[in-house]
Symmetry: D4
Subunit: 195 residues, 8 copies
């Protein structure tokens, strides 16, 4: 009744696991996410948002960039036959891309990795030995799932499955994540701190 | 290839069906919804909201008021054995309340009414003869489903099923809708235009 | 063929696990449950109840109080994003409340905790290491599920999922349980032995 | 928007459909049901039943008699290959008996007939042309489903499917219903008014 | 690649596990099963049974006796709240009986025990530690499932779930098994070797 | 409440529809089926078959011939991209063959045709306008389903789907049926009455 | 037994429906499809392709272009909230893109349109009144589904759902189709015959 | 976080596991597979296959031979009651054959073995202790699944389940595999290197 009580949670994520996430996402999180969308922040901090508060979701444009990044990264990593699933916090699947010859198991694997990443706000590679997460139905704690963190909160998860080594899946997922973070920027104008 | 092509859609709802919705929701839509949350409106109208735009959802408090309104209205309407389902635009179910002795069909009926109302932005009682809607899987066009409209867009649907007359289901659903619209206000301070 | 044979059962609950339940529910079970509804008890003890005996279920009013208690407790415990499911002994789901931003896994987790609690008549936190229970499909033995005990029998289960520590889930579930036990009483008239 | 509004409901059943049910169940409803279990009636009529009111369900013994009646009636009606399903108001299936050589469709047919009968409180043979009922998912309005009415309320439904003529299914279902109504009595002591 | 290769199989059952089954079913297998139905045996032993060979299934009468035995045994064993499922070798469910107040998990547990028993031709209590069986989807190796063996072959499985100790479930299942084996005999004429 | 009562049933099939089946299967039913397996007939006609009566199923060899006939007939009929499903009376699927490039709908279509044919003992082409059959869940009354009749009883159904004209599906299904009827004979020794 | 027998089939598509498809796809089918991939054609026409013949599928690059075309067309058509599904002939879903605020029904609608288009080799707008197609499970014959035809055979289907008028859905689907047909060409080098 | 990263993948299969596959398939892979279909190879090696590249699938004829081999091998191995499933890389099931008296678990077991074999490009008997594979939903790593390898890539999987020893299942699966590899050859002309 001790270890199992604790689950990796996004609630405490801003404080407890900040370092971990910072490390995990070091090469993916853009430097300026903390500055974005101050308008929305106001809504979050007001005492009573009224009956219709807001949730952050993914733009359509980010999905286009994600598809391109997925195909490019899969090819770059050795022509991997993978499937990618992007799931929002609500559980809604916003995008699926199944590359050629991807195995029959890749959709379910990718979906579960995305689900696990957005549910617990951490890359699935950091949850491998988490007994609590493994016990929850629908999770999969093999590498290849990364959360889309916005203002310290997981608003979506990216899951990639099908590569022979989970670390390849995770590199591809991070390439997609990176493309999403830069979807609002002009093409070719990536911040220097990231190259 | 003529009538069937048209579906009732929320996209054109601001213009084409404004009157219909206005009529349908006349006794439920608070006078001041058009004024709320101008901060968020800015985000909607800007050219590029960035990778993480916002969606409006229901507050927790509104769910508490919805549950109370459902039970109260079901009793007032003659001790109806009904089930209520509230589904957001994403398809996520935010609340289910099944009153005592409600029949085994009431959950599915209520869910489908909520689904239909939020999908097409209209009360299900206005869609009864819509051949297109009836053909789409998962819909149910019996009365008892009403959309939660916010800024001309259906952000959720309320479905009620189980009463012997669909109009009773609809009255109960409207009572719940009314309670949600007033969730952000102080208790006991309902606007005079509504009483 | 020794340990595994034993499952925690409500049948023997009146004797074997009375102490355990007493401890577990110490701060939730009202002092007077043992005295309530002597009318119904008569039916239970008579030799042949006829073709249509009775089962105890939850009142509608108790569901309203449960929703309010869930939202209040989730906020008090640090704005937890949780989902609550209340399932009766028959397996019927009487209520679902999903708070804002609750993760995609919370419905299933909460449902399974409610299911486990009502099936075995114990808080899920006491079943964590029970190999038999863990083998039965549909169970989840993480903390956060508590049974609604009435006359020594589990008539319903409350499941809460989504907090980063299962003990928080359990505290919220107990707050809901407490609200249900007091649903039949006048508001503001909680017995002094419980405050 | 007129006819479709009305559904056959058990709420109005005490008044509107009393005759119909009386007719339908003339040879099955025992004369003394109105007298039974006055203890429970008290609970129903009191203003506030507290948090744990009661529902009426089927006794175990009635299931044994139902199985025997099903097999006997199926044989008597010409060795019909039928399946019987008994579903309670909660939706719980209490009993399934599939006779030898019953077709693969009989379970689903019988289940849907039981579901329809308990949901709407009428024999399915009376709902054949009810457009509203036919639109609700899970219903089947072919003859062969009969409700178990207790104190004017449908507490269960019996569905039988597989005979070449639905009226045979219905006769078999009524034989089962009759057996259930007499489950509380001594064997061989059927009331003279019924033979 | 050694232990896991072996699964308990009915094919080798006549030889390898004959003793085990004999022990397990000692108080349930009628002494004369080996003598029954010599007509059918002829068909089995002929070289080519033609396009339409035969399988043995359960009679309708045996289901009636099974229901009675289940209710009686459940009561005798301390008023256990159990569900029984009888599944034939084809996977068809011939009978379900859910006693009053049986928990929501009992149907699935009973079904899986019946499935496991008929699939592997052994009581589930003998398969508890069988890693292979435990890996196959749909199995449950808690006590309470017993096969109906006819001419050395499992033609059906009986599963019982819900008692606090699996050995109680198994005793009830064996009582049902016994009733089935005697379904073809005159009532009251049980062979002396079995009492 | 008249026409709908009647369903096409195998029970009355020996008498009422004998001609129809005779016509429908004229070029498929072997002349000597009526003579086959007199051993088994004895079991059918005895008063009490004991607890373990027999059902007729398909031999393994007949499945091999069915697969060959399906592929050959599909090619002969113009290289049709079809799927075949063979379902026994119990609902068990004994064989599936999906030819190259068969559409995604062909499995479900073929399965439902097989299901309908075995459930009602008639070719689906004879059930097209049967309102009762069309109302039963899981049926499909497009041509392409034919029953395997043995001693006047449908022991299996063959469903074929995917051809642009249902009559082609039906011809292919009949070719498979014919192959099954001859599975027990020596190759090349087809009865002259059939060529 | 006349009209219903005929289904729109791709088999006869090269001849019977060539005109229809030519018309329907006039602005989408590239002029040179008939010339492409003569290598593969050889395989198709040879008598025996051996055990491992080939099927044509979609390239990864075409999926990237499809995602971009979908988002662009949805915006151009009035910011439609639609979901797109691309399904191959095997039934495998290669891509899903759900635009922001798309309703909960859009995934299922889009999937069924894609399924119908690839199954029958025609735009769903041409199948609206086809009674046979409408009877087959899983189909949806509202406009918005278009097949990807390659060498006269439907190798995939594109389904779009969510616009208030099905013709808008179909225009968007055709824009995606067009993008796929040009995926193999250099960007900016569209053939003049198509603009 | 080391071992678990690695999954058995077909991508690296040409190099890393070539020996293993060679060994595993030694008595099943025909000597001339490496020479087959040089036409298709050209397509694979060209830089850009255009929008419609090709996948290799199974011929119809190979399915006929597979069915025959399955039944023959099952009989030869001691009249095993097994089910065989053949699944292509896309996940499509091309063939199912369920032999007489095969248990209710055999379909699911066979399907999962086929799925696992085609997903990971190895016999399931080589994956028994692979923690990664075991964690992926839908897999089953008991012996009996073998991949159909063509040009170093798994284009299908054959799964067999039901024998009491998994090695028997695997032998039967290999017999089927062998039959498929020889489907394109003249009957009776098996290469001498294989007998």
């Amino acid at each position: 009744m001790s270890y199992r009580h604790f689950i990796v949670g996004f609630t405490a994520l801003g404080i407890v696991t900040a370092g971990g996430v910072g490390t995990a996402l070091a090469d993916t999180a853009p430097a300026d996410t903390a500055l974005a969308d101050t308008t929305a922040r106001a809504a979050v901090t007001r005492t009573d948002p009224g009956p219709f508060p807001v949730d952050h979701v993914l733009s359509n444009k980010s999905l286009v960039r994600a598809a391109a990044a997925l195909v490019e990264a899969a090819k770059r990593e050795g022509d991997q036959r993978v499937t990618m699933v992007i799931m929002e916090r609500s559980g809604v699947i916003r995008e699926v891309v199944r590359t050629r010859k991807a195995g029959p198991q890749t959709y379910e694997s990718a979906k579960r990795k995305a689900y696990t990443a957005v549910a617990f706000g951490r890359p699935t590679s950091e949850l491998t030995d988490n007994a609590t997460v493994n016990q929850i139905p629908g999770t999969l704690t093999l590498p290849g799932g990364v959360p889309v963190i916005y203002r310290g909160f997981p608003i979506a998860g990216i899951g990639v499955g099908g590569a022979p080594d989970g670390r390849i899946d995770e590199r591809i997922a991070n390439a997609v994540l990176n493309a999403i973070y830069h979807s609002g920027k002009r093409k070719g104008a990536r911040p220097s701190t990231r190259s």
